[in-house]
């Protein structure tokens, strides 16, 4: 009705308000805080383990996480390496698992609670709601990664000396530059999670059970990680989203090796486009009966 149109004009920055509401809600949930606590705990455990091991007089190294031997042996000399080690250890499973939980629950969790129908009649708009959910998941990727990095930095600073950083290529850079590279690595790690976030969001639009969506996403993550290690499957491995994840270590070379980094980000973008579109196609046409 024309007289009401003037009063009920939509607000240009309303989407940001919805995003803020969504992010605020996500980070107020106990589940989110528990995930972040686990992520923060990993570097502390690794740091303490390394400290105890080297306290006996032996040098650390030898074993360690898949990505980490090169970093692990350096931790006792420079606490900053705990950041690289921790990111290398959480990226294969802890980080993507927590993303899977958040992304998987994003739409399906609202459907389970029935709040989805009220958001849609508000009307939040299906496309916009999906974008807000994806943006919130990406925010969680960034926050989760930074939590790991900061926790590692603090633990490293407390337990080990800090100083100039010897890069993987043997050259040495100042602590300040090392810190910048650590930040860059954290950003690349966060961006590496774009793909799994998009897959989780898509799965979330398929079901009305939040638990099922989370479990499926995490199960898929594990399956893909296993596929990525089977030599006979090397033909498809370059298309698996975790395939180039550990390429972030190339940022610790001088000069930086960009090749694998670019492949990683390109692959993540591809996943975001493909699964983002699939999620959109599904969610905008789906009957909301829950």
């Amino acid at each position: 009705m024309s007289q009401a149109d003037g009063v009920l004009r939509r607000r240009p920055l309303w989407s940001l308000g919805l995003l803020r509401s969504e992010i605020g809600m996500t980070f107020r949930r106990w589940r989110t805080l528990a995930l972040l606590a686990v992520l923060a705990g990993v570097p502390v455990l690794v740091g303490i383990a390394v400290k105890i091991e080297t306290g006996d007089g032996g040098s650390a190294g030898g074993g360690g996480g898949e990505g980490g031997p090169a970093f692990l042996s350096q931790i006792t000399n420079n606490g900053l390496f705990l950041v690289f080690t921790s990111l290398a250890m959480t990226l294969p499973f802890f980080l993507p698992m927590s993303i899977g939980v958040i992304a998987g629950d994003s739409i399906a969790g609202e459907a389970t609670a029935g709040t989805l129908r009220y958001l849609l009649v508000a009307p939040a708009g299906r496309t916009r709601l999906l974008l807000v959910k994806y943006a919130t998941t990406m925010t969680f990727c960034l926050v989760g990664t930074l939590v790991v990095a900061l926790s590692a930095l603090l633990t490293g600073a407390v337990l080990f000396p800090l100083g100039d950083v010897t890069l993987l290529s043997g050259t040495s850079v100042s602590f300040g530059e090392g810190l910048l590279r650590a930040l860059a690595i954290a950003c690349v790690v966060a961006l590496s999670l774009i793909g799994v976030a998009a897959v989780g969001l898509f799965i979330s639009t398929l079901t009305t059970s939040g638990i099922a969506a989370m479990a499926t996403t995490v199960g898929l993550l594990i399956t893909v990680q296993i596929l990525d290690t089977i030599p006979q499957l090397d033909a498809i491995q370059p298309y698996l989203f975790p395939h180039y994840w550990l390429s972030f270590a190339d940022l610790l070379r001088d000069p930086v090796y960009w090749d694998q980094l670019q492949k990683n980000l390109g692959l993540q973008a591809l996943y975001a486009v493909v699964f983002g579109s699939a999620a959109w196609a599904r969610f905008t046409t789906r009957d909301i009966t829950a």
């Binding site: 009705m1 024309s2 509401s21 809600m25 949930r29 129908r117 958001l119 009649v121």
Partner: protein, 359 residues
């Protein structure tokens, strides 16, 4: 703004602007294939309090979901506030408050934060007035004292009230309430009825589905009855009762008396048919043709066939004569009157007596 009437084809009854909800052949088959709603033609006049009745599984919620754009109709079309749904949802829905299939809340948020959340999802809601509007809505449903409590700890009735508060966050042109008094205590029901009347007095159209027939009878001006996905009838509540009563007009005559045999004889003489005796009660059909004697009052009230209490009704003169005849014949009358058909009678008459839900 284009006039809504110009957008659609000409209506045979009234301009589309008069209809807040209008559906044409609206049909929905869920994935199973069975028709949940079958060729529904619904017309909800602006300003009405419209009761949407039907047994369990008759398609009320399905209809509401289609009207709110949550599910796509299999066939047919729906217009809400003069605009097609689900297409115009972004323009229509901010002016519609809805409670669909019960409340749904975020258990880990307080009642007040739940309302903040739903308000943030409304593109037309002004964040600067949010605190005030949330406060007013919470007060309106009588939840002010419990608004800070986590919604997880709410009782069913409290959740229902909070769901209503969410529908009342903004001034609305239309409220769609799917079983709004479900789980409420008697005070709560009364408050909701008062609220509905108050909103209707402000010009809000209220579309209300319910099983509680006396509730509908008390607040609704119009009603529609569904059964097995089909619309059985719709119209004003008064018309609906009248249609079902049909020739019975006022309904059945009931006389309570210890002298039932005499009463039956006298009433039969007076033209009352279909007489039945149960204990000390005699019931019967009043003659459809008013008996010639004592019927010269032309002041017929045309609007309401239900006003059997009205002393001006010609039939009540006749009733008085009947009573006089009984007394004259020495029948001791304890109580005398007509039982008007309740909406429940109408409902059962239209949807059948069976208790089992249609498959």
């Amino acid at each position: 703004m284009p006039q809504p009437a110009a957008a659609g084809p000409a209506r045979e009854h009234r301009p589309a602007g008069d209809r807040v909800i209008e559906t044409r052949g609206l049909t929905k088959a869920y994935r199973g294939g069975q028709l949940a709603v079958d060729g529904l033609d619904l017309a909800v006049p602006r300003g009405s309090v419209f009761g949407f009745l039907g047994p369990n599984g008759s398609g009320k919620t399905t209809t509401i979901r289609m009207l709110m754009g949550l599910i796509e109709p299999t066939a047919g079309s729906a217009r809400v506030l003069g605009q097609p749904m689900p297409g115009a949802g972004r323009r229509v829905l901010p002016k519609v408050g809805a409670l669909i299939e019960g409340p749904a809340l975020y258990g880990f948020l307080s009642g007040r934060d739940n309302l903040w959340r739903f308000d943030a999802a409304d593109p037309t809601a002004d964040p600067r007035t949010r605190a005030e509007r949330v406060g007013r809505a919470v007060e309106r449903v009588g939840l002010a004292a419990a608004a800070g409590k986590k919604a997880r700890a709410y009782s069913l009735g409290m959740k229902q009230r909070l769901g209503l508060a969410a529908a009342l966050l903004q001034p609305r042109e239309l409220l769609v309430l799917d079983e709004p008094t479900n789980g409420l205590d008697p005070q709560g029901m009364r408050e909701i009825r008062a609220l509905v009347r108050e909103l209707a007095a402000d010009g809000t159209t209220v579309f209300l589905s319910s099983h509680l027939l006396d509730e509908i009878e008390q607040v609704c001006t119009h009603a529609a009855v569904m059964a097995r996905g089909r619309l059985i009838t719709q119209g004003t509540v008064a018309d609906l009762s009248a249609t079902v009563l049909g020739s019975r007009g006022l309904g059945r005559l009931t006389v309570t008396t210890p002298d039932t045999a005499d009463a039956v004889r006298v009433l039969k003489e007076q033209g009352v048919t279909d007489l039945e005796v149960t204990e000390d009660r005699v019931t019967g059909e009043l003659p459809s043709e008013p008996s010639p004697q004592g019927h010269q009052n032309p002041a017929t009230s045309p609007d309401s066939p239900l006003s059997s209490d009205s002393p001006l009704s010609p039939d009540s003169l006749e009733l008085a004569d009947l009573n006089a005849a009984l007394v004259h014949a020495g029948v001791r009358v304890r109580a005398f009157g007509t039982e008007r058909a309740s909406l429940e009678d109408v409902f059962v008459h239209l949807t059948g007596e069976g208790f089992d839900v249609a498959g």
